[in-house]
């Protein structure tokens, strides 16, 4: 083979070697799994919903990636022109949609609308020599890694609601209205006020706007009008309501008068023809303990049994009645909400050990009402059973102020256990919460936090009586040495108490050096 052909031969061979190498390397694209990026609260992803009946998604696969539209940036850019640059006016009020009055329209109409308006404005901006704005398709439609949106729904708690009541001079009809069926008109009727979300759904249904459009239309316009009149007004930009830190900065009123909506103070929770003991429900006290009506009335202000039926799942996914009351994983159910209360640092010290199963006499705490025989239909007048925890007993031999735990003292001196100090602190927390008071029932229940597995009350069993030796393998019972440490250090860890070091509780007998 002459030398030239040889070089050719060399060339061909190196090419295939190189391609093999690239093939190997290409085969091993490494997947990036770093932290997901956060998307600003004012960024709206203009992904046209794919709801087949409204938007035919025939060419779904040909679509370009959705555009992430930053509302805040545009407001800054068009600051002087005011909102009507994009939002049309209807009866003097801004429509919270882009250059259109209703959300309806086929996909093509909307696509055409967005392209005409956005590109028109951008071309104009470039023509006027303003800063560079995206014009090419890929400059808006580019695929970005999946992001976590910082957008948070605004939560109207009692304090914020009351500030709006004062601002609208107790005229509820400013926001609340119901549809008068016959005249197809919005009217205001006392005692029918409810959360906006109870009626306004995900999407416009004819005249009834989606929650998003309805809320923006009323709230933002009202804020704008008050601002125009120079009065104190709420935010008008997205971040104002929807970003977490701004929500924290919303002023919280210390005391808020009760929201009168015809709700009872005290009522029986009882479903006719069921045989469980009726539950005395102190509605007034629960209002103070919750942040807003929709904490429990998550769909409507009517009673739970209107939508939830015993033993059967509702058609729109409503769980059965007993689930509605007892489902521990839901935030709206009684048990679920109560469990969330025990997750706080003050309660976790003991409650982290209780785990899932309910206490033995927990049911009777609520179900303490009469049991209706089938004949009876009328429940007696609910009377407030006030549960007052009796005071802590005085320090005595049975209720020592300090316990010197010395039985295992060897390398460490005896531990001076401030028994009374701890109990008073915990007892104060229990008394401060009516819920705790109700479920604890007696002051003695607090003792079962440490003296578990022994009946509440005076002289519960000492740790040594059960924990002297480690239990047999299959029983998870530590010896005394582990029982003391696991109980004390475990509680301190859960309650975030810093004293967890060895010398925090007991000094060393052999002295630091010898150790």
């Amino acid at each position: 083979m002459t030398f030239i052909k040889q070089r050719q031969y060399l060339g061909r061979l190196s090419v295939c070697m190189a391609s093999a190498l690239i093939f190997i390397l290409a085969g091993c694209g490494n997947e990036t799994h770093g932290q997901r990026r956060t998307v600003g609260a004012s960024v709206i992803t203009l992904a046209l919903p794919d709801d087949p009946d409204v938007f035919p998604s025939s060419f779904a696969e040909l679509r370009r990636p959705a555009v992430e539209y930053n509302h805040q940036a545009h407001v800054k850019a068009l600051g002087k022109q005011g909102c009507d640059a994009c939002h049309p006016l209807e009866e003097g009020r801004l429509v919270p949609l882009f250059k259109r009055k209703t959300d309806l329209g086929t996909r093509d109409e909307l696509t055409e609308l967005y392209h005409r308006e956005c590109l028109g404005c951008h071309k104009q901006a470039v023509a006027d020599g303003k800063q560079a704005v995206p014009l090419a398709c890929a400059e808006c439609h580019f695929s970005v890694p999946e992001g976590v949106s910082a957008w948070r729904a605004i939560h109207f708690d009692y304090s914020l609601h009351y500030r709006h009541v004062k601002a609208s001079k107790e005229k509820c009809e400013v926001c609340h209205h119901i549809l008068d069926e016959q005249h197809k008109k919005l009217v205001y009727k006392k005692k029918t006020e409810s959360a906006c979300g109870d009626c306004h759904g995900q999407r416009d249904q004819g005249k009834k706007l989606s929650l998003r459009n309805a809320a923006h239309r009323d709230c933002v316009n009202c804020h704008l009008e008050r601002k125009a009149k120079g009065q104190k007004a709420g935010p008008v930009q997205c971040e104002g309501c929807h970003s977490a830190e701004k929500q924290l900065s919303i002023e919280k009123l210390p005391s808020v008068p009760r929201l009168e909506r015809g709700q009872p103070n005290l009522t029986w929770i009882h479903f006719p023809k069921t045989h469980t003991a009726a539950v005395l429900f102190d509605h007034a006290r629960h209002e103070k303990a919750s942040s807003s009506c929709s904490s429990c009335h998550h769909k409507t202000l009517k009673a739970c049994r209107e939508c939830h039926k015993p033993g059967v799942k509702g058609k729109d996914g409503a769980v059965s009645l007993e689930q509605a009351y007892h489902l521990s994983s839901s935030e709206h159910s009684c048990i679920g909400c109560h469990k969330k209360q025990t997750a706080g640092k003050t309660c976790q010290g003991c409650h982290y050990l209780l785990g899932e199963q309910a206490g033995k006499n927990a049911c009777k705490v609520c179900h303490n009402g009469p049991i209706l025989t089938p004949a009876q239909t009328k429940l007696p007048e609910p009377v407030q059973a006030s549960i007052e925890l009796d005071a802590l007993p005085a320090v005595s031999a049975d209720f020592p102020e300090k316990v010197s735990i010395a039985s295992l003292a060897k390398e460490y001196k005896a531990a001076e256990f401030p028994h009374f100090k701890i109990i008073t602190a915990l007892d104060k927390d229990v008394r401060s919460s009516k819920l705790a008071g109700a479920f604890h029932g007696t002051t003695g229940t607090l003792c079962t936090g440490c003296h578990h597995h022994s009946p509440p009350g005076m002289r519960p069993a000492a740790c040594r009586s059960c924990h002297d030796k480690e239990g047999p393998e299959m029983i998870d019972k530590p010896g005394l040495f582990s029982a003391y440490h696991r109980q004390c250090i475990g509680c301190h860890q859960k309650m975030g108490i810093k004293k967890q070091g060895c010398t925090d509780c007991h000094e060393r007998t052999l002295g630091e050096v010898a150790k």
């Binding site: 582990s482 696991r486 250090i489 475990g490």
Partner: protein
């Protein structure tokens, strides 16, 4: 361990040299000594007080651990057991979700099927019925293959000793167990984060603990199956990979992996002699055939050559005979002629 795919693969791979199938232990399965001891380590309970290190060093008369237990800076660096300290406690921060740090005690795991025992070529490690894996320094050659192979980095070697260096590690306090006591670390742990007991019972107890508080524990008892299972079991709320343990490793034990291929060795030893003798015979036969061919060719050449010479010889012989006859005939004619002339002269005289 049925004829594991891995063993078979190795066999086949090596079998390319000699047809052979391998499976370290054929299709048998081994449960280990019934009722053997183990230790359950709950990392949720461990608070990193290192009392276990102190107790371990006392029982094995090693110097007290450096730095002393009060000095928390020890947790800034990851440590591993050494020849002067058979167990260490390390801190694993899961700062991602701000939860409190997690501490884990590290020592020899006393595997059900010990890797150190399988790789030692003088069988210095034996798995005792009580559970611990014990080391016999009287046969150890000091090759340190065990220290090099232990997947848990648990073995240490006494490099400082020139004449009788030993491999040292936790023995699960074998003397104390024989006396019916608990291992020193289990005894010393204030939080009961180390529980000593029968291995099967501890697995049940671990499951019970996980069932009681599902939010605090990952539903997996580490050490039940990993590499054939270990005596030390670990449960906790943090993923085991973050605690320096393995995740998703095979349930096959390391002796199975390590000696999977070795079952092919006796096979090669038995097959090779016959095979190679055959090849040698084959190549010798080829040589012999080649030699015979050559000889045949030579002899045939020789015979062909000899024939020609014979013909040539016989031709030459005939020619010679003819020449001779001619010469004789001429001589006779000449003699006759002379005799006539002589008689003629005589007559004319």
């Amino acid at each position: 361990m049925s004829v594991s795919r891995r063993g078979f693969l190795q066999g086949m791979a090596a079998g390319t040299l000699a047809a052979g199938t391998a499976g370290a232990a054929g299709f048998k399965h081994f449960e280990g000594y019934p009722g053997r001891y183990g230790l359950l380590h709950d990392v949720n309970l461990c608070v990193g007080c290192r009392s276990c290190e102190v107790a371990c060093n006392q029982v094995n008369d090693n110097p007290p651990p450096e730095p002393p237990t009060a000095d928390k800076s020890v947790f800034t660096k990851m440590r591993r057991p050494t020849s002067k300290q058979y167990t260490v406690v390390n801190r694993y921060l899961n700062e991602a979700d701000g939860k409190p740090p997690v501490y884990r005690k590290q020592q020899c795991m006393h595997c059900n099927e010990p890797c150190c025992a399988s790789v030692c070529f003088v069988h210095a490690f034996t798995k005792t019925p009580e559970g611990p894996v014990l080391y016999d320094p009287s046969v150890c050659v000091g090759c340190r293959y065990c220290v090099n192979a232990c997947p848990y980095y648990a073995l240490s070697y006494e490099y400082e000793k020139p004449f009788e260096p030993r491999v040292v590690r936790c023995t699960m306090c074998y003397p104390r167990i024989k006396k019916g006591l608990k291992p020193a670390c289990a005894e010393a742990c204030p939080m009961g984060a180390i529980k000593f007991g029968r291995r099967e019972e501890l697995i049940k107890l671990a499951r019970e603990r996980i069932r009681k508080r599902p939010a605090d524990y990952i539903d997996h008892v580490y050490g039940e199956h990993e590499f054939g299972g270990t005596s030390w079991l670990v449960i906790g709320g943090t993923s085991f990979a973050k605690l320096g343990l393995f995740e998703g490793v095979t349930h096959e034990s390391i002796p199975e992996l390590g000696s999977g291929f070795l079952s092919v060795v006796p096979l090669i030893v038995s097959v090779y002699p016959g095979l190679l003798a055959g090849i040698y015979a084959f190549s010798k036969r080829k040589e012999r055939l080649a030699r015979e061919e050559r000889e045949a060719a030579v002899s045939e050449a020789v015979s062909k050559a000899s024939e020609e010479t014979k013909q040539k010889l016989s031709a030459a012989a005939d020619k010679a005979k003819k020449d001779k006859d001619n010469a004789v005939a001429q001589a006779v004619k000449k003699a006759l002629a002379e005799a006539e002339k002589a008689s003629g002269k005589e007559v004319s005289k």
